[in-house]
Symmetry: C2
Subunit: 325 residues, 2 copies
């Protein structure tokens, strides 16, 4: 049976960049079965639900999902989709792709973000009038899984690991995260260090070239990866993967870009780079590398969409990438 | 009666920069009573306590405290000291002072960080083997107090406010913070916007000049202010205030600098700028401004300590500042 790929464009430019990336997936060959489904602000306006049950079911059963972006409903869509695919790791490579106006062009690192707990697993309450609480959860099992993923990733590439935490304040919870990650580190022949997330924020701004793989709790990964995106000119070209054992979800880090949605000029590169990660996740390493190289070559040579200072359309860029595959 | 100032040098270069800043305070005139006390790694090694009771008591009863830095015991010293002075606001001006090697020389903003709750008020537990929790607390009263402080600060200076939050995930707790801050905003004729802390991390890296006063929950302020320090060349020159209604504590943002401690070449500027904030807190605005101008003039003209590429000593810089007062 062919592998099944759920395709969820979402809102805004999701409807332009996801079809473009799907064309690229179709062109590189594996015999996938694509199934489309809705999510986001528009479907919520029509049906009352930002994430319809059939979309969640589809993602939960597909081999991989390619997601675009959602508007106001982003959290209502992406958080349940991440758990529908049982993804424990949010993987965010941040590098200065050709054509970006990068503050630090030598940035090339990857965030391996815990994707299930921390404040995101937070049970919240108003325990008295004007007094609210959130229960932040950190488990040894999730900490071990994310650390192992990060160290394996670094070991395969001959890279270093940095373990981010705030264990001087969150002594029990981030203490467990840190201690667990350090015992995983002992199993690997990989160089690593640990860093308080505040100090790391400063160091990333000043010397991002010193970092390779950064293993983080959930919210730390959210904030530090966006910070790093700022170092390479913004979210525009960055791909990401939400990785589980059986299935996974791939999405550009950017949003719906309402200012240009519908004009056919959205840059499809981040979604195509996410599609390259999808191919590699499913074991098609050569196809993944072909897509990544074609996208990079197009970023170098043009044509360029308006976000990179050109006047090409999504169609022009897609055609250029297809030619270079 | 003269106002009483607790002086707590702490560890490392705290013992060099705090006496230097005290000389400056003595020179500008208000008739203060200075009382010294210990805190940090060294006193812990001697007595078993990083923050001796008499130091806490002193800070709790002084009109203001000038603190240097603590080493490994930083959290054990600074968190109880912040609560000893009942400080609700941690105020961190971040600007590119003359002589810094700034990535963004036009950075000039101030973080107004909630200083009592969030994950810092966290009660932690191991609720089952390998399963830990932290209770994050957000109250309407603390949110209102910090927002009002931030808006008053901005109103006095004719500046804008940005309210940082992560209410799309922490809907109840940061939802309360955001909603409360927005209703405080309605009382002021101050321009403001709100920003998700992850998106704000990216924007601060790319366009810090667009921000004036950033009102943040506790951990967000910790991370975002260190990020911003990275934009102006690091923590080296940044002062801070922990402000309460009756008393307050002032500290440089930098640490103990063990690599240069004891050599007499530490840069006292950040502590002197903190002393300027102390003077203003106690109502000595002119004296505060004199100190700030003298420090800035010395940063411009030299002499410079080694961190700024010079070979001057702490003594040389202190003499230069004293002359310029
Ligand atoms: C939309 C939001 C819930 C999400 C997150 O916080 O994880 C986003 O910021 C991201 O990083 O993908
Ligand atoms: C030492 C630590 C507890 C402290 C904090 O997290 O507040 C420090 O990072 C700071 O920002 O002053």
């Amino acid at each position: 049976d062919p592998e099944r790929i759920a395709v969820v464009p979402g809102d805004g430019i999701g409807n332009e960049v996801v079809p473009a990336a799907r064309e690229v997936l179709e062109a590189v060959g594996p015999d996938f079965e694509f199934v489309e489904a809705d999510a986001g602000d528009e479907v919520k306006a029509e049906t009352g639900e930002a994430l319809p049950d059939e979309t969640r079911e589809l993602a939960a059963n597909a081999d991989a999902t390619l997601f675009g972006a959602a508007g106001e409903t982003a959290a209502d869509v992406i958080l349940p989709l991440r758990s529908a695919v049982d993804s424990f790791a949010n993987v965010r490579p941040v590098r200065a792709y050709p054509g970006t106006d990068a503050l630090h062009p030598d940035t090339d690192l990857v965030f391996v973000r815990e994707n299930t707990e921390g404040v995101y697993a937070g049970h919240e309450d108003e325990i008295a009038p004007g007094v609210t609480t959130l229960t932040r959860v950190v488990t040894e099992s999730a900490s071990e899984e994310i650390a192992r993923y990060g160290f394996e990733y670094a070991a395969e590439r001959g890279e270093r690991v940095t373990i981010a935490h705030k264990a001087n304040v969150m002594r029990t919870t981030d203490g467990l995260f840190l201690e667990t990650a350090e015992s995983v580190a002992d199993e690997f022949d990989v160089e690593y260090d640990t860093a308080l997330m505040d100090a790391l924020a400063m160091h990333l701004v000043m010397r991002p070239e010193e970092y390779d793989v950064v293993v983080c709790p959930n919210l730390a990964g959210d904030v530090l990866s966006d910070l790093a995106a700022g170092l390479v000119g913004g979210l525009g070209l960055l791909p990401s993967a939400n990785v589980g054992d059986e299935r996974a979800l791939f999405e550009p880090v950017h949003g719906t870009a309402p200012d240009i949605a519908g004009e056919g000029v959205a840059n499809p590169s981040a979604t195509m780079l996410s599609a390259a990660m999808l191919l590699e996740y499913l074991g098609y390493d050569d196809a993944g590398e072909r897509v990544r190289s074609a996208v990079k070559a197009t970023l170098e040579s043009g044509p360029h969409t308006p976000d990179l200072g050109g006047d090409a359309t999504t169609r022009d860029v897609t055609d250029a990438v297809l030619t270079k595959l």
